[in-house]
C-alpha cells in the first residue's frame, strides 16, 4: 500500500534547502521568508555561545595579562588590601595591594569533589540501572523509574538544604564517624557538623546519578535481546550475562554518560556553596574539611567584587570562570562526541523513523 516513491526529491529534512529543491520550485517565496525567520532563531544558540565565550574572555583578559602563569601556581586567591597601600601594576594592569590571584585552591576543590562524586556515582548508577533494566518486571518500570526522574528534577538548592539539615548531620553521626575511626590518613579527622569535602562530594554524586543512570538504563534496554538470549543459551547466569555481555556492549555509552555527569558536577555551584563550608585558600587536610570550588568561589565573591576599585577582582573572577568554562566544555564535548556514536540523546524521547 505504501507508495514509497523512489523519486529523488523526497521532501523533508534530509534535503532541506537543497539546490534541487529550489530548482523544482518546491519552495515558494513565502517558504523562503519563513525559513529565513526561523533560521535567525536557529542561530541564536550559536550566537549566544559565541557571545558568552567572547565576553568571558574579554572580562578575563586583564587578569590573564596581569597574572600570567602565576594563576596556575599561586596557592591563594585573595583580593588584597582595598583600603591601603599602593596598587600593584603588572604589564599595564592595576590590582589592589597584596592581591594574589591563584586558581589552585578552587581547581583543587573542583577536581577532587567531582572525582569523588563520579567514583561514587558510577557504580551506583550502573548497578541501579542494570537492576531496573534487567530485573524489574515491565509493569513496575514506570513506578520505580520515578525515583530517577524525581532526583533529576530536584533543584540544586534543595540538595543543599538536604545536605545541611539531613544528610550532613546524619552522616557525621554515623558513616563519617566510622570512617574517621579507621584512622586512614586524610580520611580521618573530626567530621564536625557534616559540612565539608566528603559531604559535598556525596551530595554531588546523588545529583549526577540521574544523568548517568537514566542514560545507562536506556542503553541497557537497547541491547538486542538476541545477544542476551545467546548468552543464556550458552549457559551464563544472569549476572554473567550482565557482566560479560550487556555491560561491555554499552561500555562506551556508559563512559559518555559518565562524562556528561562529570560535566554537571564540575559546574555545580549552589549545592557546593551551601555545603562546602566555603573555605577559600584552605586546602582540605582531611576529607571532612571545608573547601571551595571554582563555581562556588565565583558565586561567593562576585557580590562584592565591585568594591575593588581597580576592577581586577572582577577580572580575576572572570579568569576563574574562563577556566571553569573550558574544563566543563571539554568534558561535555567529550561526552557528546561519544554519545552521538550511539545515538542516544540526553532526553528519553522516542526515536524517529
Amino acid at each position: 500500500m505504501t507508495a514509497t516513491a523512489e523519486r529523488a526529491t523526497v521532501p523533508g529534512p534530509p534535503s532541506g534547502l537543497s539546490a534541487r529543491a529550489r530548482r523544482r520550485s518546491e519552495l515558494t517565496g513565502r517558504d523562503v521568508t519563513v525559513s529565513a525567520v526561523l533560521a535567525v532563531a536557529a542561530f541564536v544558540p550559536a550566537a549566544a555561545l559565541v557571545w558568552l565565550t567572547y565576553e568571558m574572555a574579554k572580562q578575563a583578559y586583564p587578569a590573564i595579562v596581569f597574572n600570567g602563569w602565576r594563576f596556575f601556581t599561586t596557592k591563594t586567591f585573595t583580593l588584597g588590601n582595598l583600603y591601603g597601600g599602593t596598587p600593584i601594576v603588572h604589564h599595564g594592569y592595576q590590582a589592589a595591594h597584596g592581591a594574589q590571584y591563584g586558581v589552585l585552591p578552587f581547581l583543587f576543590g573542583t577536581v577532587v569533589s567531582s572525582a569523588i562524586a563520579v567514583v561514587v556515582a558510577v557504580p551506583l548508577s550502573v548497578g541501579g540501572a542494570l537492576f531496573l533494566a534487567d530485573r524489574v518486571p515491565a509493569r513496575l518500570q514506570g513506578a520505580l523509574g520515578t525515583f530517577l526522574e524525581v532526583l533529576a528534577g530536584i533543584p540544586s538548592v534543595v540538595f543543599g538544604l538536604w545536605g545541611v539539615f539531613t544528610f550532613g548531620p546524619l552522616m557525621s553521626r554515623t558513616g563519617f564517624k566510622w570512617l574517621a575511626a579507621l584512622h586512614i590518613p586524610w580520611l580521618s579527622g573530626s567530621p564536625g557538623a557534616g559540612q565539608g569535602l566528603l559531604t559535598a562530594s556525596l551530595v554531588l554524586a546523588v545529583m549526577i546519578i540521574p544523568i548517568i543512570a537514566s542514560t545507562t538504563r536506556e542503553l541497557f534496554r537497547s541491547v538486542p535481546p538476541l545477544t542476551k538470549e545467546g548468552a543464556v543459551a550458552l549457559g551464563l547466569t544472569p549476572s554473567e550475562t550482565a557482566r560479560h555481555v550487556t555491560i561491555p556492549f554499552v561500555r562506551t555509552g556508559i563512559l559518555a554518560a559518565t562524562i556528561l555527569g562529570l560535566g554537571r558536577a564540575l559546574g555545580e555551584t549552589i549545592a557546593v556553596l551551601i555545603i562546602s563550608g566555603n573555605a577559600l585558600n584552605i586546602y582540605p587536610h582531611s576529607i571532612f574539611d571545608p573547601f571551595s570550588t571554582m563555581a562556588a568561589g565565583i558565586a561567593a565573591i562576585l557580590d562584592g567584587a565591585l568594591t575593588d576599585s581597580t576592577g581586577m577582582a572582577l577580572h580575576a573572577l572572570g579568569e576563574v570562570g574562563l577556566v571553569l568554562l573550558l574544563v566543563t566544555l571539554l568534558a561535555n564535548l567529550g561526552g557528546r562526541f561519544l554519545t552521538r556514536r550511539f545515538s542516544v540523546g540526553g532526553l528519553p524521547v522516542g526515536r524517529g523513523i
Binding site: T76, T78, L79, G80, N81, L82, Y83, G84, P87, A96, G98, Q100, S190, G192, A193, G277, N278, A279, L280, N281, I282, H285, D289, P290, A300, I301, D303, G304, A305, L306, T307, D308, S309, T310
Partner: protein
C-alpha cells in the same frame, strides 16, 4: 487637608533639624543647601510629587534598623517607600556603584580607591553602631578578651580556651580546655571590616599581615568556620561549642536569646567594657572630634575610659547625582528622617538595635552631604 498637615509636619521637622531660624524648606523645588558650612545647611526635603521606591542593599548590621524605618517613613511621607535588603556591606557598596540600587548600606566607609574611581559617590553616616564578640563556651560567662588575643585566635596561634593568654585576663574564671572554633564572615562584610580594623589596631602582626577590609586574607586556621550575614554568625556559633564570633549589635539580642555570651573587650584605656549605649556613645564622641568632610571616619579603639573599642558609623553609600528630582528628594528626605532624633533616630528605634544617634558634631557635615544629592 492632608497636604497641609504634611507641610506642617515637614516644616516642623525642618525647623527642628536646623535649629537656627534661617528660612526653612517648603516643599517647592528650589535648590537646597547654601555652601555655608555652619549649622544652617538644611537639605530640601518633603514628600515627592510622585511615588518613589528607594531600593537599598548591603550591611546585615544596618538592615534591621532600616526595616524598622520603612513604616514610619512611609506614614510620614506617603510617596516614599524604602525597600531594604541584606547581603553584606561589600554587596551594598558594589550595588551602589553599579547603580542596581539607589542606596548601599555599609559598615565600612569608602576606600580612597572607590572614592577616586566613582566621583560623586558619597558615604553618609546615619547612625552609630557597634560590634560584639560572642562566644559559646559552656559554663563560662563574663569572659574578658583583648584585641591581641582575638588576633592570635584568628591567626591560629591561640587554639584552646584554657590558653595562658586568655587565663591571664580572666583570673578567677575556670576556663575549659575546649578547642576554640573561630567563625568568620564569608560574604564581603562590613562587620569583617570593623573587626579586622580592631585587630589591626591591637596587634601589629595582624596589621602588617591580613590588615583590614571588607574581605581580607584570613590566615588558615584548622577548624575555622564561615557564615553568611550576622544571623548566620549567630546560627553557626550557637551550633558549635567552643566558638567565638564577631556579631553586630543589632543581632545581639538574638545572640543572647540563644545563649551565646557577650565578651568584655579591653579598650585603649585598659578597661573591659561591653557594648552599651553609654560605652558606644563615649567612643563615638571621642572619635568624632575631627571627622573629615568626606565623612570616612573609623571609630575603632578610641580613647576614653568608657569607650567601647569596636564602634562604627553606619553608612549609606549614595551617588550625589540621581536620575530624577523626585528620587533625589525622596533620598534626601529619607536620610534626613533617619538622622532626625524625632524621626528615625529616636530612642525607640535605636534602642531596639542597640544603636546610638550620630554625635552632634557630625550632624552638620552629614546635612551638607545630604544636600548634595540632586537630580
Amino acid at each position: 487637608m492632608r497636604r497641609l498637615v504634611l507641610l506642617a509636619a515637614v516644616g516642623a521637622v525642618a525647623l527642628a533639624a536646623c535649629g537656627s531660624s534661617s528660612p526653612t524648606s517648603s516643599s517647592t523645588s528650589t535648590t537646597s543647601a547654601s555652601s555655608n558650612t555652619s549649622n544652617s545647611v538644611t537639605p530640601n526635603i518633603g514628600n515627592p510629587t510622585a511615588a518613589v521606591t528607594i531600593n537599598e542593599s548591603g550591611s546585615s548590621l544596618l538592615y534591621p534598623f532600616l526595616q524598622e524605618l520603612v513604616t514610619p517613613l512611609h506614614t510620614q511621607y506617603s510617596n516614599i517607600t524604602l525597600a531594604p535588603a541584606p547581603g553584606g556591606s561589600g554587596k551594598g557598596i558594589s550595588d551602589a556603584i553599579a547603580g542596581t540600587v539607589q542606596l548601599g548600606g555599609s559598615d565600612a566607609y569608602l576606600s580612597p580607591g572607590q572614592l577616586t574611581q566613582n566621583p560623586g559617590l558619597m558615604n553618609v553616616p546615619i547612625v552609630v553602631s557597634a560590634q560584639a564578640v560572642n562566644y559559646n563556651v559552656p559554663g563560662v560567662s563574663n569572659l574578658k578578651l583583648t584585641g591581641d588575643i582575638l588576633a592570635k585566635i584568628y591567626s591560629g596561634k591561640i587554639v584552646s580556651w584554657s590558653d595562658p593568654a586568655i587565663a591571664a585576663v580572666n583570673s578567677g574564671t575556670r576556663l575549659p580546655s575546649t578547642k576554640i572554633v573561630p567563625v568568620r564572615r564569608v560574604d564581603s562584610s562590613g562587620d569583617t571590616f570593623i573587626f579586622t580594623s580592631f585587630l589591626s589596631a591591637t596587634n601589629t602582626t595582624w596589621q602588617n599581615g591580613p590588615g583590614f577590609g571588607t574581605t581580607v586574607t584570613w590566615p588558615a586556621v584548622p577548624g575555622e568556620l564561615t557564615a553568611n550575614g550576622n544571623p548566620g554568625m549567630v546560627q553557626t556559633c550557637k551550633a558549635t561549642p567552643g566558638c567565638v564570633a564577631y556579631v553586630g549589635v543589632s543581632a545581639e539580642s538574638s545572640a543572647q536569646s540563644v545563649g551565646l555570651g557577650e565578651a568584655m573587650l579591653q579598650n585603649k584605656a585598659g578597661g573591659f567594657v561591653q557594648p552599651t549605649a553609654d560605652t558606644i556613645t563615649a567612643a563615638a564622641t571621642a572619635g568624632s572630634a575631627n571627622v573629615p568632610d568626606n565623612l570616612a571616619q573609623p571609630l575603632i579603639y578610641e580613647d576614653g575610659a568608657q569607650s567601647y573599642p569596636i564602634v562604627n558609623f553606619e553608612y549609606i553609600v549614595v551617588k550625589s547625582t540621581q536620575s530624577s528630582a523626585d528620587l533625589a528628594k525622596a533620598i534626601r528626605t529619607f536620610l534626613s528622617f533617619a538622622i532626625d532624633p524625632s524621626g528615625g533616630s529616636s530612642q525607640s528605634y535605636l534602642s531596639k538595635e542597640d544603636f546610638v544617634a550620630l554625635p552632634s558634631t557630625v550632624v552638620p557635615k552629614v546635612k551638607v552631604a545630604i544636600a548634595k544629592i540632586t537630580p
